[in-house]
Point group: C2
Chain length 193, copies 2
DNA sequence: GCATTTCTGGACTTGTGAGTCCAGAAATGG
DNA sequence: CCATTTCTGGACTCACAAGTCCAGAAATGC
């Protein structure tokens, strides 16, 4: 499918609109009519740009949101080479999720694309990229003698990502970042030791 | 609504059946017809026992599953008073989630009951009970001089629960307990220090 | 054993939302 | 400028699933 400039713009408008809608509505589900309404498009346009229908569209939105997760942590996540940088990253993560509130677009999406093979692949890719960036940061700290070297960076990065993930999930129901902060503090302290 | 013995049995059969269905089907959603089929009941029975309809029923299933989460960790979770006990608990948690596979009934339920006020309350209650039990374990370890005493038990317990939660969430997409094990090992090690 | 309540079966209504279709407008390229 | 492709609007079909309703069976209690 070759898109003209206009076509690309419309397609982007659809994905952006759907993503925004999901971010602004606590309501976990979204219908094609919602997307239509919020993006000023018609049914045929939706199916023109996403032949696979709803699933296809939501998968595109997932990619879009997955990218946001990492870009929202930049530039901190990319330059974890001394302790102040780590602390800035920590604060950015907490601030990002606090701002997002007790609502996660990606989770809503997983609930709806659920069984689709592409869905968990997007999440898997996101996690592994995330973990990779953290691991790189850990290694550079270890090389500089600023972090304990008796543990594999990749595994520590996995623990950190899991901790953040858990803190965020808990925030969905508690509404506070307490758990997120607790687990980050504990793990940072552990790395410092 | 007063239930006869027969009535209570039917009601239980419905909740049990729905819970089992959710546990056995990767598919995230469930319809009343699914419940009907798997429990040998009729529409009118479903609405007789759950006047609020589907939401009402799913909320009951949520309670049911939330109870399981904690009871599956017993008796270990209730007797965290020396390191071997903590390790047994750790193994039980990992084994439980490994057995459950990349699928979490509670998550499917949250996706479907979503906005209902009762839903996140169930989750919140579960988390706070869980955290409380862990905190009790930590305090008894601290009192016995087996765990560092320079940190508040409640907050450490929060970090642990968040870590487990995150590990489990990640398992949904990766299928492995690697992250769960990594974060548990890190935090245990941290507590030991 | 009779009246009353609880329980059960299943047909029916209704709303909703995904996906189809086609006719026509706008852009593109030679 | 003309042929061809891409883009758009909206009416339509169709399936599915929630919830309603009522008549009759089974249990309960006095």
């Amino acid at each position: 499918m070759t898109l003209t400039a206009k076509g690309r713009a419309t397609r982007d408008r659809i994905v952006d609109g759907a993503a925004t809608f999901l971010r602004e509505n606590e309501l976990g589900d979204i219908t094609l009519d919602d997307v239509r309404a919020v993006t000023n498009t018609s049914k045929s346009q939706l199916f023109h740009y996403f032949p696979g229908g709803k699933e296809d569209l939501l998968l595109a939105v997932m990619h879009h949101e997955a990218d946001r997760v990492l870009s929202d942590q930049q530039p901190y996540l990319g330059t974890l080479d001394d302790w102040p940088a780590w602390n800035r990253w920590r604060d950015a993560v907490i601030a990002r999720y606090r701002a997002q509130g007790a609502h996660c677009p990606l989770n809503s999406l997983i609930g709806q694309v659920g069984t689709t093979p592409g869905a968990d692949e997007v999440v898997r890719a996101l996690l592994s990229q995330w973990q990779g960036l953290v691991a790189t940061g850990i290694r550079s700290m270890q090389d500089a003698g600023l972090m304990r070297t008796d543990l594999p960076a990749e595994r520590l990065a996995g623990a950190l990502v899991a901790g953040i993930q858990g803190g965020v999930v808990i925030m969905w129901s508690t509404g506070t970042t307490d758990h997120l902060e607790a687990v980050l503090d504990a793990l940072f302290d552990y790395l410092r030791a």
